[in-house]
Symmetry: C2
Subunit: 225 residues, 2 copies
């Protein structure tokens, strides 16, 4: 998979002259801002400011903000590691690949949301899709079913990363409110919720692992219509 250029943005002061703009530089800067400040930090104006221009200049290299989002996402997907090997524990390798995808998204606050609102077409997404298809084939899943399964697995993993992101993302007011709403429910009207109590909020990592197993077991036992 493509190696993401480290391209540390050296302080502009030490740089002799303004480096010319390029899509590469724009995406790198955007990713840098995203990693440090989350989605709030990723704006065309801020990217432009770091690159020492006005936002209008970026439109030569990037059609609009959506395209920049897609480019940043694909760049991050270059980090995803899909374990090699053709035999043995395909299931373990599949889960490892998806966990790698999940972590790549989760490391940039808000990027999971981008993954869920973008129709991806970059080379790294193509690469990842190919790898997942190969892994499912190793697991004996026929091609048509595997095509749908890849979609399902990526969608699920993105959504899970987005949810984790939400819960981290500061809105502790909302989280507390949700816990109270479910915790203070009347046993008569909502017996099941009442009986579960804190159980409804248990498990973080194990919940994700379980979710992946649910999906994989489900795919293996559910033929396409």
């Amino acid at each position: 998979m493509a190696t993401p250029k480290p391209r540390q943005v050296l302080s502009r002061r030490s740089r002799p002259a303004k480096s010319p703009l390029s899509q590469e530089a724009i995406v790198s800067t955007a990713l840098d801002l995203l990693s440090r400040e989350g989605m709030a930090g990723l704006s065309l104006r801020k990217v432009a400011a770091v690159l020492d221009t006005g936002a209008a200049s970026l439109y030569v290299y990037v059609a609009n903000l959506d395209e920049l989002h897609a480019l940043v996402l694909d760049r991050v997907l270059g980090e995803v590691v899909t374990p090699a090997g053709r035999d043995g524990d395909w299931r373990y390798r599949l889960k490892a690949a998806l966990r790698s995808y999940s972590e790549a998204l989760y490391a940039r606050p808000g990027l999971a949301q981008v993954a869920l609102s973008t129709i991806p077409s970059g080379p790294n997404m193509v690469e990842l899709t190919e790898s997942l298809l190969a892994l499912l084939e190793q697991g004996g899943v026929e091609p048509g079913r595997a095509a749908w399964a890849v979609d399902l697995l990526l969608l699920h993993t993105s959504a899970f990363a987005a949810e984790r992101d939400n819960r981290r993302g500061g809105d502790e007011v909302a989280l507390r409110r949700a816990q109270e709403a479910l915790g203070s429910v009347s046993p008569d009207e909502h017996p099941h919720i009442h009986a579960l109590g804190a159980e409804l909020f248990s498990g973080e990592q194990s919940r994700y692992d379980w979710g992946l197993d649910v999906l994989i077991n489900g795919v293996l036992s559910t033929p396409r219509p």
Copy 2:
């Protein structure tokens, strides 16, 4: 409802007296704007304009935009229908409830995204959770597993609605680009994708139905760790 009224101070008598602000009125107006214009139409300023005030006035009834999002979401969730009945085909009823949830979201462009970025705590979400727990119990799923399963099912359904929404939502450029990227892949480097061809984009409704079956089958066959 409401074309924004001209600010001109025509005699107050010529139009119905301004109804007092309330959270109820704000949420209704917001939902109305959302249904007609999508997420782009849902802003505090626009809601205020329809209600013939300034945005600042809304802050008496609503803490911020995120809270308004949560309130609108829960209001929509009031539409979700969960089939009654305690015996017979719980699986059919579970799928019907989730499809109802999905349709409620999908009917408002962008709302699925809100569902994925909000920690819900409204009464209708509590109701839905209770109903889904009951349905899973009828299916013989033990409580702890059911708690995780409800989360998984709702997350999946929201994500699926969001994806459908993206694909409808106008960005046909991105969709075409994605189809081209996957369609023009070299058979040597990406044999699996190449072999699948258009299959990667097939099925809309049937794909969702299959996804639900995958999830349900997976839940039934995957105990909690």
